[in-house]
């Protein structure tokens, strides 16, 4: 009985621990999304709001299309990242700054912004 009890507790602890890990993962991606959002809105970083309307952003410009339903428009996330990395690939005369090649954002920052935009 004692042993059985112990087993149950161990199993419970394992389950609990697994649950904690899952929760930790979920909150990590929440905070990554928050980081991406901050980078996208920051005037000194992405400043995407200068040209695009984005949910939750204020004083947005209207030079580029509003960024919404992005999974429909960019089912392939790599293509979305490529657009943010260097918009000149799709349109050589674009006004959208080449965030990657001109080092306006780092690789890591572009990943974070891409995640945030992809989830809009």
């Amino acid at each position: 009985m004692k042993i059985k009890n112990l087993r149950i507790t161990t199993a419970g602890a394992v389950l609990l621990a697994a649950g904690l890990v899952l929760a930790a993962q979920a909150s990590a991606s929440q905070s990554a999304l928050a980081k991406g959002k901050k980078l996208a809105f920051d005037r000194k970083k992405g400043n995407c709001l200068a040209c695009h309307q984005i949910e939750g952003g204020t004083q947005a410009g209207n030079i580029g299309p509003p960024l919404m339903n992005m999974k429909q428009r960019f089912p392939n996330k790599a293509k979305l990242r490529a657009q943010i990395w260097d918009a000149r690939k799709r349109n050589p005369h674009t006004i959208m700054p080449p965030f990657g090649p001109h080092r306006i954002l780092s690789d890591k920052e572009i990943d974070l912004v891409t995640d945030f935009i992809y989830n809009l």
Binding site: A50, Q59, G61, N62, I63, I95, P97, H102, I104
Partner: protein, 284 residues
């Protein structure tokens, strides 16, 4: 046969070079047509009012400011400087002629001898130096007061930049034009991106003015500049504004009155030929 080939070739070359480099007159026509098509409801001269021509809220704020113009006292200071004799007994009138209303329209002008563009501000300081006076600082203060006074006296006259048919003058013009259309800075933006292609749109909170008519009200009086100064003097020259807009591209600004900015001004002012001078004017 050879003769005909050469003839065809040279005819082709002539046609090609004529196509490759449109004349300033052709540029001006395209520039105007473009904006008149973009803003069909606005008369040519209305476009010079920039964002105030495009947005009712800005227009109301602007009209209220113009009722008690904050630039008036600085225009008066410019008048006083214009009238005050130099130490040698001469004055600005000895350089520019007696009538202060006839000065603004002559600038910028091509100086064929020195092969360079002379702006009004450059001429003001060269006049001072020639008379043994210390030159003014380039972007604000006394130089902007005198320039604003001369612009104010010329209100109602039309911008009239002459680009002589001289290869060096055309080179300066082309240089300025190229600068205007070239992508620049970390953000890779051109003047034309913001003030031609997307004129009338909003970039973050700011409405973008059309480049057509930009120069008619310079030196401009900006609320932002007035707030930054100790005595509420918001006047600044065109080259001060160029520096600010270069920074918006995250590019290093050039010196006021450098060759680059003078050439840019040559092109930029020429594009407003025929539009009515309204200097100085209030902007945010």
């Amino acid at each position: 046969m050879k003769k005909i080939a050469t003839l065809l070739l040279s005819a082709g070359l002539v046609a090609m070079s004529a196509q490759a480099v449109p004349s300033p007159q052709e540029d001006l026509k395209h520039f105007r047509d473009y904006f008149q098509r973009k803003f069909p409801g606005l008369k040519l001269d209305e476009l010079r009012n920039g964002i105030n021509a495009l947005d009712e809220n800005h227009r109301m704020q602007w009209e209220a400011m113009e009722e008690f113009p904050p630039y008036e006292e600085f225009v008066d200071k410019g008048k006083a400087l214009w009238e005050k004799p130099f130490k040698n007994g001469k004055s600005f009138a000895d350089c520019f002629g007696k009538d202060p209303s006839k000065v603004r329209v002559k600038y910028p002008q091509w100086d064929a001898k020195k092969k360079r563009v002379v702006t009004l501000e450059l001429a003001i300081n060269e006049c001072r130096k020639a008379n043994g006076e210390k030159p003014f600082k380039w972007k604000k203060g006394p130089i902007a007061w005198v320039s604003a006074y001369l612009g104010y006296m010329a209100r109602g006259q039309k911008i009239h930049v002459v680009i002589p048919n001289d290869p060096d003058a055309l080179k300066a013009y082309e240089h300025g034009k190229h600068f205007f259309y070239a992508k620049r800075g970390q953000l890779n933006l051109s003047c034309a991106d913001c003030h031609v292609k997307y004129a009338g749109r909003r970039i973050r909170g700011n409405l973008l003015s059309p480049a057509l008519g930009h120069v008619t009200h310079f030196p401009v009086f900006r609320g932002k500049w007035a707030n930054k100064s100790k005595d509420g003097d918001g006047l600044g020259t065109l080259h001060r504004r160029y520096g600010g807009c270069n920074k918006q591209q995250r590019a290093r600004p050039f010196k006021a009155q450098s060759k680059v900015y003078r050439d840019l001004e040559f092109f930029h002012q020429y594009m407003s030929n025929g539009m009515t001078i309204n200097a100085p004017s209030y902007r945010e």
